[in-house]
């Protein structure tokens, strides 16, 4: 018989090929438990991904509106043309106001109807137009941070016929806080579920190791290193996690596409807040990599508990 040359410690490519083949075969043989592990990863990453998607769309909306630093002066429904002209004259003199537009009650109603088409039937049933006239004012960016300016423009509230003055940048700041909250909620919920998924994978791998304990014993007796013994199990966890991540992205894209079809109106608020665009490729890669990482941690947790042999 020919003698075997043993390159101590080396792992040739055929060993890696064997790892891959074995890992895929073991996933296939333990279909049910593998499905459970993959589902856990997919669900947790889907939740995390959904939060990221909402936050990203909100972020895009904020970016779109950020360049238009705007204040709005709302009049009473009963405001007279003289009162409106007086406010117009005041605004025309102010150095920090770049332009202004008067939005009549009819224009406000038409705008609402185009943004919320599904509510048109209800609006048409109203006896009276509920929208007040308003001035939309573009503010010079240098004035946005100024409290004196805010106080000054806010003082318009005291003029006759003026009901309220709102600043868009305050609203944007609130939206930013909401984005942070959605991000945090996604991270917490997704993180907790990802940890649970990693433990599920750990238990699945532990079960697989029990099933293969006789093979492991034989491998040890013929001189297999721990790396060769553990390799297919680690790879099994990594594959489960990666598949789970890919499934999560697929489900997310399907949900995104369906929601987009249902909303159908690019001008609507729902569209711009939720479905104006899908996740960036970096976030897609990060989600799948998160699944891979959870799978790796799960399998590592189970194989690091050395089976049987005395030290």
């Amino acid at each position: 018989m020919a003698s075997v040359s043993l390159p101590a410690g080396e792992t040739p490519s055929n060993t890696f090929t064997w790892f891959v083949r074995e890992a895929i075969r073991r996933i296939w043989v333990s279909k049910r438990t593998s499905f459970l592990a993959i589902s856990m990863i997919a669900i947790s990453l889907f939740i995390l991904g959904a939060c990221l998607l909402v936050a990203e769309n909100l972020e895009r909306a904020v970016e779109r509106w950020q360049g238009k630093s705007r204040a709005t002066v709302y009049f009473d429904s009963e405001a007279t043309p003289d009162q409106i002209r007086a406010v117009d004259a005041y605004l025309a003199q102010h150095p920090d106001l770049r332009s202004r537009r008067l939005i009549t009650r009819e224009q406000a109603l038409a705008r609402f109807k185009s943004m919320f088409t599904s509510l048109n039937d209800i609006v048409d049933q109203l006896d009276d137009n509920p929208f007040p006239p308003s001035f939309e004012i573009d503010v010079a960016p240098r004035a946005i941070q100024s409290k004196a300016f805010a106080d000054e423009i806010g003082g318009l509230r005291k003029l006759p016929g003026v009901d309220d003055v709102q600043f868009d940048w305050q609203w944007l700041a609130r939206l930013r806080r909401l984005i942070d909250l959605v991000d945090l909620a996604g991270l917490i919920a997704g993180g907790i579920l990802a940890i649970a998924a990693a433990f599920t994978i750990a238990n699945v791998i532990r079960l697989t190791m029990l099933t293969y304990r006789e093979e492991i014993e034989i491998m040890r007796l013929v001189g297999a290193t721990e790396r060769i013994i553990r390799g297919p199990f680690i790879l099994e966890g990594i594959l489960q996690g990666t598949i789970g991540g890919a499934v999560a992205v697929g489900l997310l894209f399907a949900a995104f596409t369906l929601t987009r079809r249902a909303v159908a109106t690019p001008q609507s608020l729902v569209w711009s807040f939720l479905v104006s665009g899908f996740l960036t490729w970096q976030k897609i890669v990060a989600l799948i990599a998160g699944g891979t990482l959870a799978g790796w941690i799960g399998s590592w947790l189970s194989v690091r508990e050395r089976v049987t042999e005395e030290a």
């Binding site: 075997v4 006789e214 034989i218 040890r220 007796l221 290193t225």
Partner: protein
Amino acid sequence: MIHFYHVTKRFDRYSTALHDVTFHIEKGEFVFLTGASGAGKSTLLKLILRQIRPTDGQVVVNGRNLNAMKRSQIPMFRRELGFVFQDFKLIERMTVFENLAFILTVLNVPAREHKKRAYQALRAVDLHHKLSAYPLQLSGGEQQRVAVARALINDPLVLIADEPTGNLDPDLTREIMQIFVNANLHGSTVLLATHDRDLIRDSGRRTITLDAGRVIEEKMPTVERATRSEALFGIG
């Protein structure tokens, strides 16, 4: 090749599996290890395989002191050994070829050599026509021959067998013994644990007898090494 120096193995306070065992097996010897059930044969084999460590004393195999061996060195050490068990320990889901190729993969042998090496090993036990069969499609004797082929595929310095003929009839026992003797003639040191007294008596080989964890008898060979086995097992 295998040296035991005052080896004691206790599993707990009340159970001593081996007590002050000392013996030496030289390179190229063919030695039987015998004794009743519970005499300590399996414990002794586990010590040689470095599955367990002695409580007292030293075990030296092929110049390596197993007490001082690091865990990371065990795999390389075991690649110098081959073993055969009474229950064959073949992987049922794999074909005969895959059972052997699996070992070659573990031993880092390139995949392109697997077929050739497996064929050679199976030819030595006259089972080269069963490459594609599954273990459960083979008879007990054939399964044991596959297990022996697997043990010999790496040309082991030491071949260890634990009751390899325990489940086999006399004809199959003779077949398996022929293979062991052949391996011994090719240079492997053989240590074979059995309680088949007829087999030991007819072989005329050196025999170490254990009883209650102690060596109670050491019988030296009564005949020349190769010639006697050729006559007994019909190898020429």
